[in-house]
Amino acid sequence: MKNNIKLRKFHQAKWDEEVIFELHHPGERGVVPPEVETNVSQETGDAKAIIAETMQRETPPALPEVGQMRVLKHYLRLSQHTLGADINIDIGQGTCTMKYNPKINEAFVKSPKSSELHPLQDESTVQGALEIMHRLDLAFREISGMDYFSFQPSSGSDAIFTMASMVHKYLEVQGKADQKDEIITTIFSHPSDYAAVSVKGFKVIMLYHDPETGRPSVEALKSALSERTAALFITNPEDTGIFNAEIKEFTRLTHEAGALCCYDQANANGILGITRAKEANFDMCFFNLHKTFASPHGAGGPASGALGVKSELVDFLPVPLIDFDGNKYSLNYDLKNSIGKVRSFYGVIPAVIRAYAWVMSLGAEGLEEVAKVAVLNNNYILEKIKKIHGASAPFAEGQHRIEQVRYSWQQLFEETGITIEDIAYRMADFGFHLWSSHHPFIVPQPFTIEPTESYSKQELDEYLLALEQIVKEARENPELVKTSPHNSVTHRYDETWLDDPEKWAISWRSYQKKHPEGIK
């Protein structure tokens, strides 16, 4: 088989497409809504009068006016500018669990049975949607060992923030909120564990890893724990793919200090059916449905962070809960210590539907097989990358990893001057996506590979072939790599713009303000 694998002669489309606002032609229409029929307008009266005066805008929004076919063309062209999960071998964005999102599940989501639901419908008319949420809750109880799941948080970071809010409320009820204001996390836990609890106002203490094991020691934890400790927020395995085998000692010591244990399982892809939050003595945990549970990331959402707690903490969950009396599902807003709402209505139902379909299609054995294949794929890649001259896998030498590995190109960089950015750009020439990993920048010239269970050995080999090719080029023809990408939508751009508030623009209005002359 191996002999058949070759680098493809890839060339991406380049449309030089305008920004949609530049396609604006006054008077052009995508859709012309029908005239309001007389009997309707007679019934409603003056529609404008329904809207409060303070809510009425004086000038219409500056939206682009573009014909329907041109809009379609616009977005199809843009879609050809991407290297998304459905078109490339998307294993180069480790920690994000870019796996296959079965297309059949889109049929359920697009079905009018779900797409036509309105969040203000009476609960008696949405029994099916509530049933799906309840049944997915039951599945997650099995997967994690927790006692109740909420689908209110709409992302992993939102789930972390929700957990931090619950920790705060829990301490408040105990009269300890002023005393206990510190949260312990680890430097290789996902940085959202640090960011979201900071937003909640907690002080953050990050445990550094020991260089040999790549993970923090029990001694490091002990020196951080005190009567001020409110909770432990931890990822396991960490972003290095290293599993903390002493996790039960971590939770034991944390509980001993009177603090709660919160498990970030945003990415649980390597441990489904293998380990559970309950057995590691966590008080709460969450799963990203858009990672492990095969709902698409959707370029930043809509997403879902399914949040599970032990029974004694159910009372603190955001509302509403979904109750089932054996006959009828209902929404329960009556929780004594609830932190309240964390998002409008009931959570991201499409993500819940997809995750439910995925879990039900696999069953318990299937989920465990997902984890095993993901781990196998990862360790196959690990062995292969370790053999690439110039790449390395820092920490925990000689040991297996779980579902991903944070690697380093430091040696290649020192020998050739080729950086991770250069390699990432060059990978686009072969139709692949590779990123340089998120902060903190501890591993020099970092990259993180997470192959998940989705890809075949042939595809993994093709990706590896591209990495090997680029390493060869770095030695023989570094300029080729330095000046890449050559076959992509764009050449290199000035990244300093992204760091400059005077220049960056995240909306058309801001772009026009900051760059009235436009840019070349």
Binding site: I205, Y208, H209, A224, E495
Partner: protein
Amino acid sequence: MGEEIFRQAGWEAVVIGQLETEETSGWHTQQFAAMMLEKKVDLLLFVGGDGTARDVLQAVDKKVTVVGIPSGVKMHSAVFAGNLQRGAHLLRYFTQHENMKVREVEVADLDEEAYRKGNIQVRLFGYLNVPEDAINMRGGKVQSRASDAYYQQSIARELFRRLEKNVSYIVGPGSTTAVFKKQLSPDYSLLGFDLFKNGKLIKSDANESDILYFLSLHRSRLILTPIGGQGILLGRGNQQISPDVITKIGKDNIIIIATPQKIHDLQSNPLLVDTDDPTLNKQLSGYYRIITGFKEEIVYRVSD
């Protein structure tokens, strides 16, 4: 001085001065560095060790971005690219990127006087600006990364949040401690230990006996930041903080501050204590909660 070499390598070199003697000294380095400063060069690349770094410091201070190519005997300063190749890559990187951010790093050198007496002590002489990502060239996304300067301010804010009444503070040298000290008094010393009581500067650049006398009067805490690229926390550089002083202060009263990048730059190697007293060094070893920002700490290992 270098013209021939550049020509052989196919570079065009502008000659800005002439040597009158065969022998060169630190004075020449200073003169040439000053001339380059006058020419408004974008980057001053120098080859040498700590001595050369000190000469460059004297001539250009922080008025120009510099990078040292290591070739000296002593290299305690943090201005050096890891090796010759890294220096070359850095030069290339610098020429390809506009508006590279800079950060301050230490220029340190052996204390000759102490060295002659048989003590290895590293003294801090000042700060030079290097490209922000120069020394380790870690790669990764450069976007939206909070700078060292931001974290230094953030750490100072945290120290103010923690200031206790009826506790005095002995604050050590370094650019991170300086941001804090500057806000307490304009008369702080960048390179020395300063004594503060109730937010007032009592003595700047205190010596060992000043500190011992101060300790006899006040309950005190010691605020330290690691010096140089190797993460030296105590000993070597700070002879004022003798084993006697440390014992009187007590391990629990040592507060360590450092920007997160400074910690990450240690590549997971521990911070070092290296006083003259091996038993004390052992006692001081272990995990510390290092202040890395406002309401932020990193638990990190200190080793002897």
